[in-house]
């Protein structure tokens, strides 16, 4: 078994070159802010950022000027309101112009799925009747070759250069297990050329093998592992910590103007060397506030077959 554990700094240096097409997915949960902050610190440029919901993570990356293009399906601060930095970039070119490519959620899901399965397109019952295809030439239709000859909407595959995927745990070779909301973590991993797994904890291979149904991403497609507890804050990891909703609400206010946005990036990203420093600054009290009580599942019996 190869040990793939490296630091976040190394992972970003090695796998996120300027101009890369990058996906940091995770639907509300498992959003790897630790990676985003390191990308901002290393002042990466001209990235194409892919995500169903750009969320605060891409709002921060776009405010910091790392991106050239955004591929997405829902542009909002979930449960709060607008993503102001994204809107400033799109509407006013601040800090630099941002090209957008828009799909529906199912469209993005289909794109990753086709990308993962190495198929030329993904057919879906969506887009029809909406105005989206008129503004996105990537959304087309095909006629079914079978008897009914149905005309169906299709979206093209999406194969990012690199996916950075937050997860609860993996072993040292990258076999990665999930519980809680899985979003598109599995599909984006299989679709991407390189995969960096970021976990709350690395566990022994025996722990993974004791519950193989939970393994969604195999070591086969994993290039590197970064161990970064609380690396998804202010999003969350089921059972490890809660979503920091006050943070999202605060960002909703702060991000309305350029200056307080830049100030936050200075204070919480540029001025800090790494994630442990961020956690120290965040403080034990906040981390304690986000700690959930236990809700354990019943173990299942896989059986011994000799």
């Amino acid at each position: 078994m190869t040990d793939k554990i490296i630091s976040m700094k190394e992972a970003v240096q090695q796998f996120v070159p300027d101009g890369a097409t990058l996906a940091i997915e995770g639907f509300t949960s498992l959003i790897c802010f630790a990676a985003a902050h390191e990308i901002i610190r290393q002042q990466k440029r001209d990235l194409t950022l892919c995500r169903l919901t750009p969320d605060v993570i891409y709002d921060q990356m776009i405010a910091a000027g790392t991106a050239r293009k955004l591929v997405f399906s829902y542009l909002g601060n979930p449960g709060v309101g607008s993503l102001y930095a994204v809107r400033r970039a799109v509407e006013k070119g601040i800090p630099r112009p941002l090209e957008i490519e828009e799909y529906t959620h199912f469209g993005m899901i289909g794109r990753y799925t086709a990308g993962a399965a190495k198929l030329p397109f993904f057919p879906l019952r969506s887009n029809t009747g909406s105005d989206l295809p008129a503004h996105n030439p990537g959304i087309k239709t095909v006629k079914s070759p079978y008897a009914d000859g149905e005309e169906i909407s299709v979206v093209p595959p999406l194969n990012p250069d690199v996916a950075i995927i937050h997860a609860p745990r993996c072993d040292r070779s990258g076999n990665t297990q999930f519980w809680g909301l899985m979003g598109m973590q599995k599909e984006v991993a299989f679709a991407s050329q390189h995969v960096v797994i970021v976990v709350e904890e690395v566990v022994d291979e025996a722990v993974i093998r004791a519950d193989p149904n939970r393994t969604l991403i195999p070591d086969l497609i994993v290039d590197a592992i970064v161990v970064e507890p609380y690396g998804a804050h202010p999003s969350y990891v089921q059972g490890y910590y809660d979503r920091d909703n006050p943070f999202y609400l605060d960002w909703g206010e702060r991000s309305k103007e350029v200056e307080p946005t830049a100030q936050w990036l200075d204070e919480w990203v540029y001025s800090l060397p790494d994630r442990p420093a961020y956690l120290k600054k965040l403080g034990a009290e906040t981390l304690a506030r986000l700690k959930p009580g236990p809700a354990l599942s019943e173990p299942v019996n896989y059986g011994i077959y000799t």
């Binding site: 828009e102 289909g110 009747g129 979003g183 959930p292």
Partner: protein
Amino acid sequence: MSDYTASEMMIAVAARHLIDARTVFVGVGIPNIACNLAIRTGNPGLALIYESGVYGAQPARLPLSIGDPTLVTGSTAVMPMNDLFMYYLQGGLVDVALLGAAQVDRFGNLNSTVVGSDYTHPKVRLPGSGGACEIAINAGRILNITRLSKRTFIEKVDFVTSPGFLGGRAERAALKMPGAGPDKVITDRCLLDFHPETGEMRLAALYPGSTVEDVQAEVGFALAVAPEVGEVAPPSAEELRIMREELDPSGLYRG
């Protein structure tokens, strides 16, 4: 002056329209409270489906977002999002979906993408579809919850994010969409439905204290009126008690 808020009325009316559904595709805020009210007032088997990949959620607190961890703990199933969109939604397992929008038009088409006619230079950039487009196409029927306003209820939406009847029922039917489309629009003053043949939006029933004129004054097109306009009963004492004591004690969404 009534002793309940417009939001409480909307929640109660939405809950009553979920009384015979098996599954509902739901978001946060008023829709979430409406579903939980329906569960406590006559449809205990109603299963909540969230686009984040949850079937049978039983949230122990009011979720701020549709990906709140409280939706996961104690739910019936949690799945990758493509399972949810492919097998549950597109597979035809969603009876009703609750949607809102920045603009609604005469045929129930919804806009949550841009305000203004130029997509590339919009007056206001809204969030976009998320799952709304495929929900509008595939869910059994759509309940729209939107407050009346001339800016919101307009003749033709600036951008069709989620298709209703497009130019009329025949146009939607020609596209063979699996879902029946718009069923009701639940506003803060009245209940709207859609003409059974044309698909045109109509005033179906008034809330206590509202008149046809009041409603028309808040709609940006000549609103058709159903042959018999009913009156919707106000929230019952029990509905109000459940909302206020159990579902939204802080009044975050009821206000």
